[in-house]
Symmetry: C2
Subunit: 300 residues, 2 copies
DNA sequence: ATTAACCTATACATTTATGCATGGATAAAG
DNA sequence: CTTTATCCATGCATAAATGTATAGGTTAAT
C-alpha cells in the first residue's frame, strides 16, 4: 500500500482554505490545471469525494471537511518547520520579508531598505505593504512594523519610539477655507475620508472632532492615495508628522487639537529571531526607525 | 517566498526515522537516488544541514533533530488523514492489509483469503506475516490478528475464540526417543528452539518444563521453519492444535502437560471500522476464524 | 438577452523528476 | 589483509509532472 502524495495533500488544503483551485494555484505558485489534477488525484487515491463541483466554486463535502482538519494540522506543522529552519539558518544572505502599513512602507521603509542593501548586499528585503495585520505565526512576513503591542509569548516585540500625527491641509485649501485652529472650527469643513464603514469617523470622534459623513469630500482607503488627495486640496487629513514635514505644500491645521501619539513596534517570531539574516535586518530597522526622518530633529 | 515541497519533507522524515536513504526509499516505494536528491534539495531550500554524511549512514545534526520534531508532527497528521479517508471510503473494492503471526498467516489465512476473493472479488487482501506486533495507529496494517488484547480506546478488538496449543513431535522422533508423557520426561530430550535470547526458554519454564539451552537441537525464529524442523524429527515443538491435526506424521507428546490456552483477537482502528470494504473483510475473518479448521469439531 | 468576469476540465508541448547503472567509500566478516 | 555487503553520490535515458492554450459552464450586472 503506497502512501499518499504529500504535495497533493497540500493542494487539497489550499484549495479548501481558499475555496477555489485558481486561488490556491496563485497562493502556491502553481497553475490552476495543476491544482485541478492534484485534487482529482488525491480523490482517486483516497477513494472519496472531497469537493462538490457545483459549477461556481468547489464546496467541501462532509468527508472533505473531516479530512481538512488533519490537513490543517499538517500545514501548521509544515509552517512551524519552515519557521524553525529559517531560525536555524545562519547565512546572512537570502530574503527577509517586512510587513508594514502602506504609509510606513511608502515613506519610511525605502530609505532603510536602501541602507540595508548597501551594508549587507546578500540580503534582499521584500516589502509587504498592507494595512491588515500580517499573521507572523503563519509566516505571512518575517518582520512586521506595527503600531500596537502584539503581546504574545511567541513573538518578540521591541518598542522603537513614539511617533505623533497631526492634521494637515494643502496651502491651496487654506487659501480657500481659511486656517481652522480648534476642533469646533472643523464642523463644517471638508475632510478626506478613509473608509465608508464609519471606522475612520469613529476614530476622529474619539479625538474630539464632531464630524459627520457629510464632511467627507472624498474617500481613500489606501493611505498613500489618501495623502495625495489631501495634498491636492480636497480636504483635511491626518498624517504622521515627520512624513508631513517632508511633503511640500501642506500646512498643519487644527493646531489646538493635541497631536495623536502612537508607538512604533518592531515584531518578529521568537524562532526567526535566532536567524542571522533576520536579526541583521531587525536590528538595522530598529536603528533606522529610531532615528526618524532625516531633517527631523528627534523622533522620541 | 515559495513554500517548501511537502514530498521533500516526507523524504527527510523517513530518512531520519529509518536512518538511511536506502531504507527510506524502500519504505516509500522510491529509489535511493531519488531520496538522495530530495534530501539534498530540502537542505538547499532551507539553507540548513540536516544530516552529517559520515560515510556510513547519515546522522542527524542538531538542526535536523530540531526540525524532525515538526516533520513527525506532519507525518502523524498525514497518517490520521489517510486513516480517516479510508474510513470514509464506502467502496467495497480496494486493498485491505491483514497482519498476522507467520503461523496464522501460513496456516489459517490462505483459506479465508480465498473465500473473501470468491465472495467479494473487488477486494484484494494483503497478508503481512510478522511476529512483531504491527502498529495499527501508524497504519502498518488495516486489520491485525493478535493473541493479546490491545485494550486501547482508539482500537476495536473482537475476541474470536480461545485456541489451544500442545507439544508435538514427528513419528520418526517418537520411534527414536519413545513417547514422553510428563514434563519430567522432557528433561533430557531434544527440542526445537525459537530464539537464542532465552525468551522461548523462559516461556517453556513458565509452562512447567525445566529445560536448558542444551535441550535445543536447533533453532528457528520463523514458526513455519520451526514447525518444519519438528516435522523432520529434530525435536519437540509447540503448535496450535488445529494446525497440528492437519499435519501428517506428527503426534502429540507430553500428553500430561495441559494445553496452552490463548485467545484470538481481531483488531482494527476505530476510524477504519467505518470503511465498507474493511468492515467486510473484518466480518468475514471473524466468521472464518471462529469456525476453526475444517475437520476440527469446534474451536471454542 | 447579453456581456463580462469568474471558475473548472482537457489537449498538447515542455520542463522536471524519477529510475537504472555505475563508481567510490566505509564497516564488518572471513 | 581481503572479501563482502551496504551505503551514498552522479551521469544518462525515460517517465511523469507541469505550464500554455482552449473550451465549456455559471453568476452577476448591464
Amino acid at each position: 500500500m503506497d502512501k499518499v502524495d504529500w504535495n497533493q495533500l497540500r493542494a487539497f488544503l489550499e484549495t479548501a482554505e481558499t475555496g477555489s483551485l485558481s486561488a490556491a494555484a496563485r497562493k502556491l505558485g502553481l497553475t490552476q490545471p495543476t491544482l485541478s489534477r492534484q485534487v482529482a488525484a488525491i480523490e482517486r487515491r483516497l477513494g472519496v469525494t472531497l469537493f462538490e463541483r457545483a459549477g461556481k466554486s468547489m464546496v467541501l463535502t462532509a468527508t472533505g471537511l473531516d479530512l481538512l482538519e488533519h490537513a490543517r494540522s499538517m500545514g501548521a506543522a509544515a509552517d512551524a518547520l519552515g519557521m524553525a529552519a529559517t531560525g536555524r539558518s545562519q547565512a546572512v544572505e537570502g530574503i527577509v520579508s517586512v510587513s508594514a502599513s502602506d504609509m510606513v512602507a511608502t515613506h519610511l521603509l525605502p530609505r532603510l531598505v536602501r541602507r540595508i542593501r548597501q551594508e549587507v548586499p546578500g540580503i534582499a528585503v521584500e516589502v509587504i505593504a498592507t494595512n491588515a495585520i500580517s499573521d507572523l505565526q503563519r509566516r505571512e512576513a518575517d518582520i512586521a512594523i506595527r503600531h500596537v503591542n502584539p503581546d504574545r509569548p511567541d513573538l518578540i516585540a521591541r518598542l522603537i519610539r513614539q511617533a505623533s500625527a497631526c492634521f494637515y491641509a494643502s496651502k491651496d485649501w487654506v487659501e480657500t477655507y481659511g486656517h481652522p485652529r480648534t476642533a469646533d472650527d472643523a464642523g463644517s469643513l471638508p475632510f478626506v475620508g478613509a473608509d465608508r464603514a464609519g471606522r475612520y469617523l469613529a476614530y476622529l470622534h474619539h479625538h474630539g472632532l464632531s464630524l459627520k459623513e457629510a464632511n467627507f469630500s472624498c474617500y481613500a482607503e489606501d493611505s498613500v492615495a489618501h495623502w495625495g488627495l489631501v495634498c491636492q486640496g480636497l480636504g483635511i487629513g491626518a498624517m504622521m508628522d515627520e512624513i508631513a514635514h517632508e511633503t511640500p505644500g501642506v500646512v498643519r491645521v487644527l493646531d489646538d487639537v493635541p497631536p495623536v501619539q502612537f508607538p512604533i513596534w518592531l515584531v518578529t517570531h521568537t524562532e526567526l529571531h535566532t536567524s542571522r539574516r533576520i536579526r541583521v535586518v531587525f536590528d538595522m530597522l530598529a536603528q533606522g526607525l529610531a532615528e526618524g526622518m532625516p531633517g527631523n530633529a528627534r523622533g522620541d
